[in-house]
Symmetry: C2
Subunit: 152 residues, 2 copies
């Protein structure tokens, strides 16, 4: 049920102070679709509250992640991204533009996992990433191949 709470409510429930900075960051996360980078949020935040420091954004994100209110994922595109969609899903990651998209493929539904039992390892979380080219980048690549042949 905590999942129906807003991020701010979750902060309060855990005894964290409701500072204006946290308020703003939570709001931005809730109203931003996709998978913003820390820098993305920082830019949006400073637009509203110019004194906001990048450090505060990082700190707040780690706090929210610690509460399980968000997840910080690293898809290998440099820096991590804020994941506010907590439903089980996988990611499409464009190797050219770095765009990240959700796909409703449950990582827990991965094929036969019985082999895992042979390993001395406590699995806590599963992650599935599909890498490749998004539509835009695939088109851009195709156009470039047609146009001026020699460019690689």
């Amino acid at each position: 049920m905590p999942h129906s709470h807003t991020l701010i409510e979750q902060l309060r429930e855990h005894g964290l102070k409701l500072t204006p900075q946290r308020h703003l960051i939570c709001q931005l996360i809730e109203t931003t679709h996709g998978h913003p980078t820390v820098e993305d949020l920082y830019e949006k935040a400073t637009a509203v509250m110019p004194s906001m420091s990048l450090k505060t954004v990082y700190t707040t994100l780690y706090e929210l992640a610690g509460l399980g209110a968000i997840r910080l994922v690293n898809v290998g595109t440099g820096g991590f991204r804020v994941e506010s969609n907590l439903d089980p899903h996988s990611h499409l990651v464009c190797r050219r533009c770095g765009k990240v998209m959700d796909v409703p493929v449950d990582p827990a539904a991965t094929a036969d996992l019985s082999v895992l039992e042979q390993y001395d390892f406590e699995v806590e979380h599963r992650e599935v990433i599909f890498r490749g080219l998004c539509g835009d980048c695939a088109q851009a690549g195709a156009r470039r191949d047609q146009g001026h042949e020699r460019h690689s």
Copy 2:
């Protein structure tokens, strides 16, 4: 068939010069088990050839990756790791010590992938990561919990 070639042979086939640096790096990759970081390889390389620069290690790894002879994977533990096992498999990543282990779970066998067709995205590669605690770290955590209660 190129997969049965040594890394050095693959370099040669693609017209890259066989410098002593590349020779050494290829050798180190082939004789190192697990998933060495760039820094790991750099340390081993400088032990043999002290003049080796970190830049050269990076450059060579990118070249090998460009040929498809190795893969550079980023499992979110800071810096990437060299993957010389090109068979389809997945990874166990310890969130505490950062250890990476291979498991023979084919990422392509992930459940129902038909939903992917609805997305305008060309999938080139699939990646599955299981995150959690390795045996050693799980034990260490349990011991700490028993001993001095209050430590978090």
